[in-house]
Structures are given as structure tokens and as C-alpha cells.
Assembly symmetry: D2
Homo-oligomer: 225 residues x 4
């Protein structure tokens, strides 16, 4: 994934059910095509293959199960995600916490398949632990700010700075993303100023009346850098 | 769903990763078109929307999460499944066991959305409990026979008979399906003779060299009735 | 367990940490000795063996894990609970929901060991499903009333009546208990009038200033019957 | 906890059900009293309080739940464990895997209560991640060797050496324990030679005909150092 990046998590919003997921992905594609900035989308699981077939921007799974290769029902495996055309995955989102051993297994398995991994984290200690397992990125998202109107870059810039500093001590190869409450172009440019390589966001775009206008504005925040 | 029915669970087989899911669904469609028998398919989660967009036969989710309406990541909701074009769902497959309260909530929620529900069960007592919650169907699958070469109709016809009898006492509206080890046209016709309304199967078709030939043969077992 | 019964669930209240659990159990023993009514106590897991060694009234586990006999860490098994002197267990409390298949396995396993089983349920459909698996009792507890000040016997007597009626249709051997919001002697006598065989309660006793006085008063509600 | 230490995990062995747990703890106490070596015991959950009341050696929980302070049923909390007299806890045993965020919350919460924390790990990457969250100890246990007859110190000394080295880079304050397959005095002395501060074991002692003799022999391995 080209950095810096805007990663859009579709979550379970009604706006991305059915045809909505593909529509949202096409808007991301347009903004990428018009501005050149790097945008990735995480569609709902059941829309993953359809979306990945229809757009060229990176498509990431919201969650992947660990899988021992035995036959399972209802399991989303790394290999199926890869075969569907996804290029990476979120791991351990605040709304989808995962076992420590499974996070490590997913990072290792994804690496073998060439899939990008973004581990979400709720505080500096968990960010360090995540970085120690060698994912591509760690997304710092204080849970109390997720889905809210105040960006972590305004309310708690120090937690972002500490994360960047501590993660780079554990492993300089692991990049940090800013999540939680990101809504405006200022939030995005502040995220880059704090040393992170992009943002992970959801409601700010998905629930906007004019989703494309918001994405274009966020893109400017990324370009200013 | 028209009864009797053959329900094909794609599980996590390599054959149904990526393009394989849609290919498998198209074979089911062809067999339905050629024979008139009722066939439904349960694609891998991430292929659900794509498959449902491309075929006319019933498409069922392998698993759906309970969802309280709050924003979630990695969650598959009933409404998203409905919006994607699915017409029903498996619940509580042996490889994906569910909480009792969640099974009831899914059955109730699915009914409101007009989605068909098939609750999988491992023994007679669990079949009775499942029936008491009013799903459309209960699929009886002794776990030790799942994925094997011996059909429950041969190895343990009494468990199927007991299930039919006990389920009808609890609620005559709930139909029973036969699962576990179903592989041949004889297994299918035996399943109907035992009073069940169809079969739930996976490996017998998915892993076959000539999937269409096997499905056509199973269809004959259904037609003989 | 002699019926009717008052079952006291200690939950995680601070009052029953450390020495508090044994103290609470001794109060139950005294009230039993003084009034002759049947009282059972569910201490916190880690206090189970100590409490069961020190009192003669029935001691029940708040929760037991399903266990396949392989070596596990952190698992509470039926056989260990039995060996510790407990005489039964709660299953599927609203704050500790369980898999359908595990509930059935626990009921069956407990029966073999001579342990009493009480399955908690959140609505009539789940009560029916629970009864179909043959536990000794089903405790009806609408989750929204648990821990509150209004008894289900006042706010929703019909749900209790329906549960009694539907459970007896499924199996006349399964007794019903009333839970959720039970606090006064009137709540207890109303619970018996509605056809249930006792109450399952927690906060009403545990958080009382004078726990023994409250228990004695509840005992009167049971005796009036 | 005084280091080096032998930590005995009782797991779910039949030998430690009922009175067996206390008997085992008393043997540990005797060996401690006779040799002066540091021994800690992890009894089954339901025996925790009873064992902690009766012996003076450190008693650790096999597992503790994360707990937000709201009322729960079947939950084992840090404060209840502390109140029962335990002095620490295992976290994330291979047979009881935990969420990354919960591991961090348990380490932080235990520190506030003065409880010792030992995080179990299955490989070097997970050991590093665990160390990054600041527990007192990390116990390295390759899952395939747990419960077996070959000690990790013989079959894979390099994984132990790497763990010691990598953990000390992350945090020199975090000590490493050797687990999996430890059975003899040689295994124990080898564990110390490799730079770890003790052993975590179960079957080697619990299943021994003469448990005390085995413990005394292991103690010699610790003393030789």
C-alpha cells in the first residue's frame, strides 16, 4: 500500500449494505483517480469479493479468522480473502478484538501471502505489543473516541506521539496510523504532522451527506503534507 | 424455499475460493434448470454478495452474527445478508456453534426479514430445543459423521427417525433435513423415506471430480420420491 | 433440591469476595435452619470448594465449562465441581450465555453425576428450548429486569405464566423458577402463585444492609404458600 | 515471588479434584519448607480460595477474567482473586488463550493490586509482544511440547535462548520461564543455564506416582545453579 494512506472502514453502516458497498468503493476509486492519493477500503465481509472484483484501489478485509486448514463453516480464511482479490486486512479492531496468538498467526500468515496487515490498538502498551509481532502498520484508536466527533489528534495528540515513538523503538519498519474521530482535512494533516502515515476512519465519510466531497477534502489534508 | 431441497454448504474448501464459489453456484443453477429440483447454496461469507447477484437459486449465509444495531467491524448482520440478496441462513453448524439466546434472536430476526432459517443440530435433544424456537428447518448432523464417507441414513437411521418424530411433536411446522455423510442418490432417497425434507451436504459434491454429475445424480434421488 | 426453593446467586458483588462468600453462605444456612425453607447458594467460582466444605445447604456453581476430558487450564469441569461438594449448577445465566450444544452436554453430563441443573432463559421461546433438553429447572429472567428494583412478577406476570404453561407442555417434569428483580416477600409469594417453584435472586439479598433479615422475610413469602 | 521458581499448574487433572488440590498444595509447601526453594501452585479455579487459606507458598490463579466492574455471573475477577489470598495469575496459557487487549488490561490491573503476572507464550514473536506489556514474567511454551515427555530445553533450546535475548531487548525487567515437557532435575538446571528464571510445569509432577519425590528432585535442579 502506498503511504500516506486513507483507510476507510465500512463497518456495519446501513449506507454500505447491498449496493451501497460497491457505490462507496467507486467513490474511493474516483477520489484516488482524481487526486492521486492512496485510499483503501474495508467493505463488509459479505461484499468483499464483489467489491474487490470491481475496483482497482486496495480492498482490505475488516476481519479474518485464524484457520488451521481443517474444514470449517462460516470461517473467513486468509487464502479465501487473497483469492477474492483483497490485498490486506484489519486485525483486532476495537469492535472485533482478537486473541494474542491469533494476531501473531494472522500477521505471519498474511506475510506469506503478500497481504498487508494493520493491527488496531487501544493504548500505547498494546501498540508496542502489536509492533513486536511485525505487522505493516499499527492503527492507534482510543476506544472512547471511535465514532465520535473529536479527533484523537486534537483531544490526545500525546498518545499518538508516544505511539509513534514507542513503536519505532520496537521496530522502525512498522508504520503508525491515526484512528478514532478523524473527520476533517485538519485532522488528517495533523495526523501526518504527529508522525503517523495516514488515517483509519469510518463514520466521518460513510455517514456524510456528500461522501465524495468529504473524501476529497480529507485528500487535501494528505496532500498538503 | 421449495421442498424437498438439496442444500450445498461450500464451507472453506479450496475449490470454492475466489472464482470457485461462483462457478459452483452456476453448476447448482444448471442442475436446477435442467431437473426442476430445489437446490440452495451456502457460499463462503466473502463471496455471498457476488454469488447472490449472479444466480437465481436460493443463496444462504453459512453464518450470521447477532447484531444489536450498534456500529461493528467484521460483523455479518441479517439486514446486510438480506440486502446482498441472500434468502436465508444456516445457524449453529457443528463447525460454528452458537449461543442459545443468539439462535433464538436470529430465528426471530430472520422471520421479520423473510429469511429462511435452518438450525443445525448434533442430537435429538438439541433438535427438539431448536424446533421449540420455530425455525423453518432443523438439520440433523451427528458431528462424528460430518465430512465422512458413511451417510447418517445408513449408519444411524434411527437418529433421523427419532428427530423427525420428536420435532413434529414440538412443532409440526418445522421440517427436518438430513446431514452428515450424504454422498449418493441412495442416501438422498433414503433421507426422504425417513421423513426428512431434503439434505444438507458439502464434501460429497464440492470435492467431487465432476461436481455436476454428482449433483445430477443426487437430484435423481430427490425426484424418485 | 427440595422445592420450593430460594436460590441466591452471589455474582461478582464485592460483598462476597474473600471471607464474604462464606459469611453469606452461613447466613443462608442459619435461615434454612431456623425456618426449614430450602435455600441454595451460588458462590463465586474461586470460593466454591471452600463454601461447599463449610455449609450443609445446597451449593451450586455459577457456571461450569464443557470439558472433553483433555487436559485444560482455567477450565471448571462438572467432575471437579462434584468433587468439591457442589450439588448443582446454573447454566446460561444472562451474564454468562452458553452455546446451545454445550447447554445440552452440561445437562446430560450433570444428570450422570447427580447434579441439579437450572437453565436461565430470557424469553418464552428460549424457555421452551431449554425445557426440551430436560434440565431440572428453567429460571425465567427477562434481562432488562435483572439487578433492578421491579420484580418480573409485578411488571410482566404474563411472561411467567406463559413460561410455566409452555414449559409444562414440553415437559411436565421441568420446574420453572422466577428471576429478575425479586426483592420482597410479596415477590416470592407472587412467584409461587404464578405456578413457579421458587426464585433466583442476587442483589436483593447481597446488597441489603441486613442480609439475614431480608432472607428471613423472603422465607416467609415462601412459607405463606 | 522469589526467583528462581518452580510453578506448578494443576490444570484439570483428576488428581487435583476435590481434596486433591489441597493435598498437592501441601506437598509443595513441604518441599519448600525442606529445601528453601521457591514453589508456587496454580490450583483449579474452584479450589483457589480453599488452597490459599491453607498454605503459605504463593498461590496463583490459572486464569482470571477481565472485568469492567459491572455485575457478572461466573466471572473470576482480579479483586476476588486477591481477596481470596492469591498472589498472582497465569495469563494466556496455551489451553486458555486470551484477547490481546485483555492481557494488557490484566497486567495493568494486577500491578495495581500487587499481583504477580506470568504471560504464557507460544513462540518468540508472542513472547516479545507479551514482554512489551510489562508483565513480571513470560513463560515460553511451544504448544506441541506441552504435556509431552520431551522438554523444550532438550528439543529446542534455541527457542528458549532467543526468547531470553529478545525479551531482554524489549524490557530487561521481564523474566523468562521455561515451560512444556519439563520433567527432570536436568530439565530444570538446563532451563536456568539457558537464562530463564524457573519452570512452569504440570503433568511431570501431577501425574507422578510419588509427587513429592519428583518435586524434591526438581528442587535439586534449581539448587544446583
Amino acid at each position: 500500500m502506498k503511504l500516506p494512506v486513507i483507510i476507510l472502514n465500512c463497518k456495519t453502516y446501513g449506507q454500505v449494505e447491498g449496493e451501497g458497498a460497491l457505490k462507496m468503493a467507486r467513490i474511493c476509486q474516483e477520489v484516488h483517480d482524481e487526486t492521486g492519493i492512496s485510499i483503501a477500503i474495508c467493505p463488509p465481509s459479505i461484499e468483499l469479493s464483489k467489491v474487490a472484483s470491481e475496483v482497482a484501489i486496495p480492498v482490505l478485509a475488516q476481519n479474518v479468522d485464524t484457520w488451521d486448514g481443517s474444514v470449517k463453516t462460516g470461517t473467513v480464511s486468509l487464502s479465501a480473502v487473497k483469492a477474492a482479490g483483497a490485498t490486506g486486512l484489519l486485525i483486532n479492531h476495537s469492535e472485533c478484538r482478537r486473541l494474542l496468538a491469533d494476531i501473531e498467526a494472522l500477521i505471519t500468515g498474511a506475510k506469506e501471502l503478500g497481504l498487508d496487515t494493520i493491527v488496531c490498538s487501544n493504548n500505547v502498551a498494546v501498540s508496542k505489543a502489536s509492533a513486536a509481532m511485525g505487522p505493516d502498520m499499527v492503527a492507534m484508536e482510543p476506544p472512547e473516541l471511535i465514532g465520535g466527533d473529536i479527533s484523537v489528534t486534537s483531544s490526545d495528540p500525546d498518545i499518538v506521539r508516544s505511539t509513534v515513538e514507542e513503536v519505532s523503538k520496537i521496530s522502525p519498519d512498522v508504520k503508525v496510523l491515526t484512528g478514532a474521530g478523524v473527520k476533517t482535512r485538519e485532522d488528517v494533516s495533523k495526523a501526518l504532522e504527529l508522525g503517523t502515515h495516514g488515517v483509519l476512519l469510518a463514520s466521518g465519510v460513510i455517514k456524510a451527506k456528500d461522501q465524495k466531497a468529504v473524501l476529497l477534502s480529507l485528500a487535501e489534508g494528505l496532500l498538503k503534507k
